[in-house]
Structure formats: C-alpha cells, structure tokens
Point group: C2
Chain length 410, copies 2
Amino acid sequence: MNSEIRNKRMADATLKVLRADKTPLANQEVKIEQTRHQFLFGTAAFDLVPLANGQYSGEEKEQAERRAEKLTNLFNTATLPFYWGRFEPQRGKPMTGQLKNAAKWCIERGMSVKGHPLCWHTLTAKWLLSMSNPEILVAQTERIKRDVSDFRGLIDMWDVINEAVIMPIFDKYDNGITRLCKAVGRIKLVGAMFDAARAENPSAILLINDFDVSSAYDILVEGCLEAGIKIDAIGIQSHMHQGYWGVEKTLKVLDQFTRFNLPIHFTETTLVSGQLMPPEIVDLNDYQVNDWPTTTEGETRQVEEAILHYQTLFGHPLVEGITWWDLSDGGWLNAPAGLIRRDGSSKPAYDELKKLVKGEWWITPIKLVTDKNGEIQFAGFLGDYELIYGRTKRSFTIAKENRTTITIKV
Amino acid sequence: MNSEIRNKRMADATLKVLRADKTPLANQEVKIEQTRHQFLFGTAAFDLVPLANGQYSGEEKEQAERRAEKLTNLFNTATLPFYWGRFEPQRGKPMTGQLKNAAKWCIERGMSVKGHPLCWHTLTAKWLLSMSNPEILVAQTERIKRDVSDFRGLIDMWDVINEAVIMPIFDKYDNGITRLCKAVGRIKLVGAMFDAARAENPSAILLINDFDVSSAYDILVEGCLEAGIKIDAIGIQSHMHQGYWGVEKTLKVLDQFTRFNLPIHFTETTLVSGQLMPPEIVDLNDYQVNDWPTTTEGETRQVEEAILHYQTLFGHPLVEGITWWDLSDGGWLNAPAGLIRRDGSSKPAYDELKKLVKGEWWITPIKLVTDKNGEIQFAGFLGDYELIYGRTKRSFTIAKENRTTITIKV
C-alpha cells in the first residue's frame, strides 16, 4: 500500500470498551470487522431496475441475480438512471415506482444510491421541444423538485447537471435543454438547477458532472462558486474507451480542481478490455459497432490499468468516490467495459479490484485483546465497523476527524 | 458593400443648417467630409515609441516616419506596449515618459490609444519572483493604479488582463503572475485588476483579452460577469500565423460571445504574407526562425484573407474594433505579418484595406445643396464629419443613436 493511501484513507483510533456497568472490559478478546468503506466504491447499476421490479424470469433472472451478487460483493454505491426522456417518456407518467424499488433494493443491501442525471441535454424529454424557453425552465425545475423530493431518504446524492460545458453549443440535434442553456447561460442554469434540488433535500450531496476536463470545466466550476452556487462535489467522467489516461494525466486533471478544496467524484470510469476506440472519434457516441468483444490481452491491460487508476484516485486526498461504468459488458456503446463478461463470469479486473477494495484496503475480521483499561489501539480504513464480544455486536465508525477515543458499551 | 455593413455601420441623418441669425441656410451648396470612423481601425504601433522619443536618426528616422505616415493614413487607433518587464525592468523606474510621448504623438494626429497589457504572465516583471503572492498582488494592483492614473486622458482604453484562461496553468517558466493567479483564482484576479483600473479611470474602456477561443474563454467571461465584474469589451486575439480562420470559424467564435451583448474587439489580428507556420506548433512562441520572407503568393493570399476578415468583422453588430498585428514585417516572431514590407513599401493588403477603410467605407468629400429649410438628407458611416460652408467648418458626429435631426450653425 502506498503511503498516500495509508495517510489519507486510514486513521488511528483508540477504542475504549466498557461493560454495561461502565467498568472497563479489561483483558478480553474482541473481534473487529469492517462493514463499509467511507469511500464511495460505486458502479452504474441500471440493470437493478428490471431486477428489482421482477422483470426478469428464468435463466435471465438467475444471471441478473448473479451479477447483482457480484455487484454487492464489491461496491457500496450504485448509480441509477434518471435520464429524463426514458424516466418520463410521456409527460406526467414518470417511472418513479420502478426507480424506488431499485433504490430500496440497494439500501436494503447496505448501499447508497446516486441519481444520474437531473438536467442533461442528451436523452432529455422530447416533449420539451414544443415549449418556449421559459416553459422548459419551469418543466425542468419542477422535474427536479418532484424527483428529489420523491426520492429523499432513498437517494440523497444527485448529478444535478451533466455536461454543462458543451450544453449550450451541443449541435448534434435540437433539444430543449440546449435551447434553454443557450438562452439563460451556463452559470444561471446551473444555479437554478442546484437551487431546485437543494430546496427539496438540503442535506443531499449535489454534484456538477462533466466529461470535459479542459480548462473550460474548472473555469465553469470557478464561475459557479464565485456566483455563490453551493456545489457539494465535483464530478469528473473518465470514459477511457480510447485508452487509459495514465497516472500523469489523471493527476494533472485532479490538479486543476484541487484549488476549490471540494470533494471530487470520478463519476463514470470506463476502461475497456477489448480493442480501443480509434483516436479520431471525438464524440464517443459516434462509434457504433455491432460486435466489440472482450479479449485476453484486453483483459490483461484492463486489470493493470484499473488497479493503477484506483490506486491513483484512492491515494488523492480530495477524491471521495469512483464509479465504474458499466458493471457488465455490452452496456453503453456495446463496449467490453465491464468487470463481468456477457456470460456472467468475472474478468481479472473484477477479481483484482475486489482484492484491493475488500482485501488490501479492508480490515478483515481480526481478534484483539483489550488492555487493563478496556482499550484497544487500532488503525483502520475510514468507514464503518463492528466490534463483537461474545454475542454482542456494536457498530462504530472511523472517520478522519475522530482522533479521540471511541467509547463502546458491550 | 454587403447589407450587414450598410445596416450596422451606416446611419441616415438629417442635417439642418442654420445661419448665425438662426434662419435656415436655404438652397446653398455645402461640403461634407468624413474625418474619423467610430469603428476602431487599429494597429500595434510599438514602433512609435522610439520615433516619438527621437531615438531614430538619419535613414532609419526617415523610414520610421514613412511607416508612421502610412499608419496614420489608414488607422485611427494605436496599441502601445505596456509589457511590465519591459516597461519597468527595474522596479520604480517605469518608462512612463517615453510612453506618454508616444501616446501624445498619436493624439495629436487624431488617433486614440490602447495600452496593452496591464496584467499578463508573459513578459511580466522578473523582480516579482522574489515576492510572496500577497506582495505580488499589491505590486500588480499598484502598477495598474499608477499607469492608468498617469495616462488618464492620453490612454483611456486598456487590455486589463491578458490570457487569463492559461494564466494559472502556464508552465513554460515560473513567473509571479501565474503564481498569483493559481493562488487566488482567475475570476478573483480579473476582478481585482478591473477594480484597480476602474478606480483610476472610471470612464475608460476596459477589456479582458485572450487568444483562447474555446468554450473556456466564454465561460470565463460568463463567470466574471456573474461575479459582477464590469467588462466594457471582450478582446479576442486572432494570430493566424498558421492560416486564416475563414468566415465560418470567425462567425462561430463571435457566436460564442454574442449572448453577453458586449462590444467585441479583435485585438490582435495577424495574417502572414509568407509561408504558414506549421500546424503542429501549439504555442506560437515556439516557432523561432531567422528568416521568414514575404512572398508574392503570400501577399496575394494575405490581401484576399484580410479583406474577407475585415468585411466579416465590420459586418458584425457587436464588433467595434480590429487591430492589425504588426504594421510592418519582422515584428513578433519575425513574421511577415505586416501590411508594410521591411523596405517600407506597402503590400497589396495595405492598399486594399485602405480602399475599404478610407474608400468604400468612407464618405469622401461630397457637395450637397440644402433645401429651402436648410436641410440635407445624408447617409454616412458612423463617425465624425465636417460640414464646410465657405470658410466656415463645423464638425458633427453620426452615431447609431441619432436618428433625429442634427442642427449645425454656420
């Protein structure tokens, strides 16, 4: 483990274990076990929507369940799809119930959920096209208020606005959100969207998210912050279909955002295990192939790069989450971007990431003996834990902030 | 003349000419003559500093005077150099006197002057390097206050900040301004620089200026405006050493800035009349050649492109100025970017631009006869004029705003 990870992601804690009568539990063996990372190890989990809504059956259902098991074994966070055009294809008939089932499925399994995205020009509702710009603004604002309110407690983390850098100049096809953004300006639109979301869920983690990692994006973030918009985390996509950025570029990108001293989420991380997309493709969506197989060499490359990417990001003090995109092959662009093959088997990248996330970076059950004061010195990864003494289980949290003693009554 | 130019740059005016006793000057022939464009036809005029300060002699002086004559025959605005490292190589000993002489030289010849630039990371004062960031901020602010104050009335137009998009990430060499910008952020620095300049000359035209014409720049402008910074005009460089942008790109660049409804100045326009700089050069300063001759084919290309560029910009409603960079060959990068060759002769681009600026787009002396009410209907380019009746000369101005009658007493 590199020293950045040790310094940034672990903390020393003193546990003071007391009996019910408040006397120290002296010289006793207890078991300590990590139950959750504070760090958000996430994945796009669109597949959970049909699964949680009973839309699979037979062999298909069993496969989906196996994928879901792999998902919960590795990840603690799921990104669920709120693309407006799909979420509410007919105005007034949103898929709220289905998405709630998927979010509940995650929460029952100890995962947190992020909704993606609330405002985006791509895959937005087609029915906006018949509206005037002021009407689009009202509809978009109401959409955010409705969904953030409906999902409060289930989804408390949102990509509020997606790809605002290109939004007003997006010229692939006419759409309501590009029109709106062109009319009101990027910063005013970001502000209006954040205001709407914040009003309905003040404690939610609200992100701005973009694939653009040029100066345009950090200048936009600066402009939003100078305009008084409260951004909780900066979302950076990293769809590396055309090849891994490498550590140097990754650190350079991070460096552009460190001055804001805000949490950074790598929201959409892709590394393919097949042929790379040709470098001349500018908009990844332009690359349409019927067949894009995973290969043995590709999988070897993918696992090496994935490890390096996760190590780099987990070692950076401002990064608080990484989301893999997609969990299984054949998702967006039909790419072999999964950690799981089409047949449901795990690729090396799945196994090796699990060895990190639930191995090297994880406190597996350990037995420790309290001293005469009932105390235990303990260094753990930031996150949630259980202390087990006999049949008693008590949970506690190791956060960077608590350098003091954690008192646990058993 | 294309219709945009007719619509945007000309206005219909009614002149009502009265005698001293206020009776109409009926049925009399008067002469009308344009004396100045409202539009800023400018050029980099660094060469005027040694000329105005008597630093040339003999043949060199005669050549400089001939260049200066060509300059004043075509242009109404001059950009003078305020690169901090050259303007004040030793702290506390600025070249104020020399620059004042150059500015006065221009004003005596009816030209306006722009100072370029007040804050820039390139060519900045080397002695900033020994300072802390707060000290650099004070020094930079004081420099702006001193110079804007010293030149008030002589120079009332400034490129306040230059290339802020790249400023904090400029990595060619260490310099005080990059350090400062990285520490305080682009928008805060722009704001501080504008505040300093505005405080000393509230009615000055203050510009932000950049070579970056990606989304990063218009997002920066938006961020500055949302943060409450009053920008009087947006400066866009267009150093086309690697080839003319063409009309389409030019209009696309303009389109990115039209939503701000602010005046736009093309502050640094270069079209070479020799070999183009290779496309792989990213920072133009990296291209260092001893010899870069003007050629016949190059001059033919240059004149065609220059005409097209000026027509495009003069036809755009928000553009209020174009500055050619440089007037003579052998300036920046030793490029054949001039309108004048090294031997002092005019290139076709000089002659043809003059035919536009002082020909097609200019009201040469015309004789008109007043009606029985002393009135004349008259369509002219926006700018200053003289009405001559016998030995009496009266000046008047045609502005877009005055659709009403202009009363002139002779």
